[in-house]
């Protein structure tokens, strides 16, 4: 009833763990796998990266701010960690790098991956993420190189702050299997008591419920322009948000900041979506893009 198809992957339901949330260890991935369609691991680079000093994640009234700084144990070590993944949900490995060669090099470590997600959108690290993802040509090159290397699906995760239609089309032409939209928005907060920025990195990425309308617009626009599946990311918290994203054109929906509310959110979303599908007498897949119909 909840099954969705994304390129060659069949997901038991459209719920996907967003990268960077609880995805650094197999122990949490295993725990989350029962009720999710897929899990994206924390973005990994070729070398170990420390990330920024704490505080790197803070809660604001309407969403989260984070500047983790793409901390990563590096490809080799992280691949060892993910060897212990035992779940049923598809495992998607998120990669960050600054050029096509490096993306290919990292991907080689991850035999256990069912698919790859390219982080072209992290807004708070110079030379990586959004810096790469802002360049439609470079994005096309990266996708082409990776497609030659692996037969597994590749998803490009893009930012609302880029010329996202151009970037997505370039990725589509290069053969990408799906687009993930969006990553966090650029944002910051200042503590008025100490008169200082709260994040150690001053600014960071803004996620959570507050960004949902922005993500919705990007998903909507991409659905009008692309033929490949779109995966929504940004603010989804309740089953209604999942339905709303699917109506806008998403084939699946990532859940990230909402883990602030509950560790069992996949379970409760799944059950609510079942109830919704039953009430509407549909397979959930049928609602994808329905709000575009005149």
């Amino acid at each position: 009833m909840l099954e969705v198809q994304i390129s060659s992957l069949t997901l038991q339901n459209p719920l996907i763990l967003a990268s960077g949330i609880l995805g650094s260890y197999s122990s949490s991935l295993n725990r989350l796998s029962e009720h999710a369609g897929a899990l994206v691991a924390k973005s990994v680079g070729i070398e170990e990266r420390e990330g920024y000093r704490n505080p790197v994640v803070v809660n604001t009234p309407h969403g989260l701010l984070n500047a983790v700084g793409l901390s990563s144990p590096g490809a080799e070590k992280f691949a060892l960690e993910l060897e212990n993944y035992r779940g049923d949900a598809k495992l998607i490995v998120s990669l960050f790098a600054s050029n096509p060669d490096e993306f290919v090099e990292i991907a080689r470590y991850f035999d256990m991956a069912d698919a790859f997600e390219l982080n072209l959108s992290c807004p708070h690290v110079k030379g990586l993420g959004l810096t790469v993802g802002n360049d439609p040509e470079l994005v096309g090159d990266i996708v082409r190189r990776l497609k030659k290397e692996t037969s597994r699906p590749i998803f490009a995760k893009i930012s609302a702050f880029s010329s996202y239609i151009e970037v997505a089309k370039s990725a589509e032409e290069a053969g990408v299997d799906g687009v993930v939209a969006i990553n966090t928005l650029k944002g910051m907060a200042i503590d008025i008591g100490s008169k200082k920025p709260i994040l150690s990195n001053v600014s960071g990425g803004y996620s959570g419920e507050a960004v949902k309308p922005v993500a919705m617009k990007v998903v909507w626009d991409l659905y009008e322009e692309l033929d490949i599946p779109i995966i929504a990311s940004g603010g989804a918290t309740s089953w209604k948000d999942v339905v709303e994203f699917m109506l806008a054109g998403a084939s699946a929906v990532q859940i990230g900041s909402a883990f602030f509310y509950s560790y069992r959110i996949f379970y409760s979303l799944k059950e609510s979506l079942k109830a919704y599908a039953r009430k509407e007498k549909i397979r959930l897949e049928e609602i994808i893009g329905l709000a575009h119909k005149k």
Partner: protein, 236 residues
């Protein structure tokens, strides 16, 4: 995040201070805050009372923090995490070193509920037995014998009629927690026991995944206090 002013400091020793804030945090014993020492790092610290944290210098941030002055500001997020479950019956508190921090708060809280509270407090040496007179009924131990029983809190636990307590609360370094866990499991007392765990933390709110245990539990949300039974998957 909000900032609080440091109101008062007790310097227990060169390396341990209790830092009091200018306003009370609505909290329960066992909860922690993410304390941001500006220009240093934000670190997790248990509340040692609704107004305070008790910190031991072990690295850059904590070393700077024990030397903070009154009037300075610190950033606070929280209180976060699952607190201890209280009892008004017979309670045993087992503290190893700076693991005593949350137990000061718990001690007062249980007393207030009318509980009978007994404490076992141990360290490597007598200098680790910080603020021991804050506990009314306390047995001490040091590994070097410089104060109290010569040995560990685990040795003291072994000699005790643990069945006689309604609740047993334990906080201390990981090795001690595991040893205590084993004893309590042997004696079939895990259901009465609660452990306060530490782990490296970043967000403190359950999203970053830094603090997860072997079974996938997040120390910052499902913990830091876990019942003995909850730890079967993580410790065994």
């Amino acid at each position: 995040m909000f900032s609080l002013k440091v109101d008062k400091i007790i310097k227990h020793s060169e390396t341990v201070s209790t830092i009091f804030f200018n306003s009370k945090l609505r909290s329960y014993p066992g909860q922690f805050v993410m304390l941001n020492l500006f220009d240093y790092e934000e670190i997790p610290l248990s509340l040692s009372s609704p107004y305070s944290v008790t910190v031991k210098a072990v690295g850059t941030t904590t070393e700077a923090l024990v030397r903070i002055r009154t009037g300075e500001l610190v950033g606070i997020r929280g209180p976060f995490g699952k607190p201890f479950t209280p009892t008004n019956g017979k309670a045993l508190l087992v503290a190893g070193g700076i693991g005593s921090a949350p137990l000061y708060y718990l001690h007062d809280y249980l007393k207030n509920l009318g509980a009978e509270v007994h404490v076992i407090f141990g360290g490597k040496t007598s200098a680790d037995l910080i603020w021991k007179d804050r506990f009314e009924s306390v047995e001490l131990s040091t590994e070097d014998g410089s104060e109290g029983y010569e040995g560990t809190v685990i040795d003291l636990m072994r000699g005790k009629d643990l069945e006689g307590f309604d609740k047993i609360y334990i906080c201390g370094p990981e090795g001690m927690l595991i040893a205590a866990y084993r004893i309590l499991k042997e004696r079939n007392l895990l259901s009465k026991a609660e452990f306060s765990l530490e782990s490296y933390m970043k967000c403190g709110i359950g999203v970053c995944g830094t603090c997860v245990l072997k079974d996938g539990s997040r120390v910052c949300v499902e913990g830091p206090v876990f019942s003995g039974e909850e730890l079967e998957d993580a410790f065994d």
